[in-house]
């Protein structure tokens, strides 16, 4: 049987931030938001539920979360019920699983929920949870969490290519500015000039507070279906046109030069190739700016600029409105916060809303046709990419 075309036909997110709400309450909240955003959705016809959740066992002391989420949402899936875990890319993994299921005909109508509860009484305990994403018995005892790893990426990038703190601040300023247009963003009401960002305290040198995404609670949800039903829900579905992933290491010692994210180059070529387009065709990209330096290296690995030119690409505003394409119009992980499982799903919500002109004018990309979503996970040792097109099936 031929693979079917699959689209995101609607979605919603909760407010991201330090939330006075439990894991299950965040899922209920996103269920309400999804029902408002997609009023055509009837619970009894949702045959499958995919839950992207990175560490509910540690942050909420809860496993077996897929049926728990189903109950919170009032869903009774009868074909596929599963939770996906890929650390910071858990949400995109859930979407990819739903895409595969619908494409193959195993599912006709699926809900994907991404959720994370990260703010708990002991931030040291939360930091431990972030640490066990690494190769725990080898990297963990040294105190490895994400900030020192990405700090080393920044240190090498600065040494090899002359990248500057000002160029990293340009990324953070752009994404926080976009977050001001997004009421669900954690830092919706905060403004950060480049000068202010450069005065914030160091977290892991050379990275400062404004270079780092935060510990965030939040949930996001999307509805996926095939070309047979998509128009029932939306006149402007976001069609999944390509998908790619790549991983070739896990232990920190195997990260190579640190500045050459070959996995993203491979994953994005796979996804763009399946879509039949080049990186120059993209109108917008939601990329994984867990740290400001990440977005700089991603510009290079995606082929938006030459290796070593990412800092200049940022400073010249080529990923900003009026540039080559708009990168992270939602506000990115820096501006929205990074609830691990929710992030990849919230990025897909942004792509759908951009395609259907549902975002505020201050961040609307004019008439977008193609979008790319990227998540990295762990020590940038996994790269996951999906390409969305607004046009009807080719």
């Amino acid at each position: 049987m031929n693979a079917r075309d699959v689209a995101v036909v609607g979605g919603a997110t909760t407010k991201f931030g330090v939330r006075s709400a439990t894991w299950a309450e965040l899922v209920q909240e996103v269920g309400v938001a999804l029902a408002r955003a997609v009023p055509e959705l009837r619970a009894e016809e949702v045959d499958s539920l995919f839950v992207g959740a990175a560490e509910p066992e540690r942050f909420a002391f809860q496993s077996h979360v897929a049926p728990l989420a189903a109950e919170q949402l009032g869903l009774k899936p009868y074909r596929i019920l599963q939770r996906t875990e890929l650390a910071c890319a858990s949400g995109q993994s859930a979407i990819r699983s739903a895409y595969a299921a619908i494409s193959s005909g195993l599912s006709d109508l699926a809900v994907v929920v991404g959720v994370e509860k990260m703010n708990i009484p002991s931030m040291a305990e939360a930091n431990s949870s972030m640490g066990c994403v690494m190769d725990r018995p080898w990297d963990g005892p040294a105190g490895a969490t994400a900030p020192p790893f990405f700090a080393m990426v920044a240190q090498r990038h600065m040494l090899e290519f002359g990248t500057t703190e000002e160029q990293m601040a340009a990324i953070s300023e752009k994404n926080h500015r976009f977050a001001n247009t997004n009421p669900t963003a954690q830092f919706h009401e905060k403004t950060f000039s480049r000068e202010k960002l450069l005065r914030l305290p160091l977290v892991a040198p050379p990275l400062r507070l404004g270079d780092c995404s935060s510990m965030t609670d939040g949930a996001a949800a999307v509805v996926l279906t095939s070309d047979e039903q998509a128009r029932r829900f939306s006149d402007t579905p976001a069609w999944i046109r390509g998908s790619g992933q790549y991983s070739d290491f896990h232990n920190l010692a195997h990260a190579g030069s640190l500045t050459d994210w070959r996995g993203l180059t491979r994953a994005s070529r796979e996804a763009l190739g399946r879509a039949g387009i080049g990186v120059e065709d993209l109108d917008l990209a939601e990329v994984h700016d867990c740290f400001s330096i990440s977005e700089i290296v991603e510009y290079e690995a995606l082929g938006l600029c030459a290796k070593g030119e990412g800092g200049k690409f940022a400073a010249d505003g080529r990923g900003d409105r009026g540039g080559d394409l708009v990168v992270n119009p939602r506000g990115g992980l820096l501006g929205c916060g990074h609830p691990l499982g929710a992030t990849g799903v919230a990025q897909a919500v942004e792509v759908f809303q951009q395609f259907s002109a549902q975002v505020p004018a201050a961040r609307q990309v004019p008439d977008p046709e193609w979008a790319l979503v990227h998540n990295l996970s762990g020590s940038a040792n996994v790269h996951s990419v999906m390409v969305y097109g607004r046009g009807r099936a080719a």
């Binding site: 002991s122 930091n127 990297d139 105190g143 969490t145 080393m152 040494l159 040198p205 010692a253 640190l258």
Partner: protein, 183 residues
């Protein structure tokens, strides 16, 4: 059922007022990795931490930790294809052979990249902040190893700094490795 459960209680509540109180537990909450198998279950670690369980009852790589106890960082090498691994393996990732041998690693290396944890340390490491971490290229072997860097403040470290691996007791009998600057 209930009588069986009662027999398993190691420290019954004293029934007479004059009974001496139970002695305070002498063992650390996390026993040494080579602890005897006869330890009662309630004295096992109640919460896993970042450090590995190192004894032969927990890992095939216990010799790595035994060698650390002798002050030496070591790893495995495949006897079939000669590949040197880091971290040590129980099977060669390239040829899948399980015929591996232990080899000692060089006592000197150079820092490839480093940073420091100034805030946001994991549980149990909060009091060690600030601490430096880095990737170290060991001299003469194609291996890069990540670890803590001790010996001078992070602000005085430089890429290329000479360091040596050292072993240390984490405080409960388990061993781990880190790097120390060499002038």
């Amino acid at each position: 059922m209930s009588s069986t459960a009662g027999q398993r209680t190691r420290r019954p509540r004293p029934e007479a007022a004059l009974s001496p109180p139970p002695p305070a537990p002498a063992e650390p909450s996390v026993p040494p990795s080579n602890a005897s198998r006869s330890k009662p279950a309630e004295k096992r670690p109640f919460l896993l931490d970042f450090f590995p369980l190192e004894g032969p009852e927990h890992t095939k790589l216990y010799r790595f930790y035994d060698r650390l106890r002798e002050g030496q960082l070591s790893t495995t090498r495949c006897r079939r294809d000669g590949e040197l691994h880091w971290p040590p393996r129980t099977a060669c990732p390239t040829c899948r052979s399980e015929d591996l041998e232990w080899v000692d690693l060089p006592e000197r290396g150079h820092v490839y990249a480093f940073s420091a944890v100034l805030v946001g340390a994991p549980l149990g490491m909060e009091n060690e902040v600030p601490f430096a971490v880095g990737l170290v290229d060991l001299d003469g072997v194609p291996l890069r190893v990540f670890g803590r860097i001790e010996g001078r403040p992070w602000s005085e470290l430089r890429i290329g700094q000479t360091v040596r691996p050292e072993a240390y007791d984490i405080g409960d009998g388990r061993m781990f490795y880190r790097f120390r600057t060499v002038d």
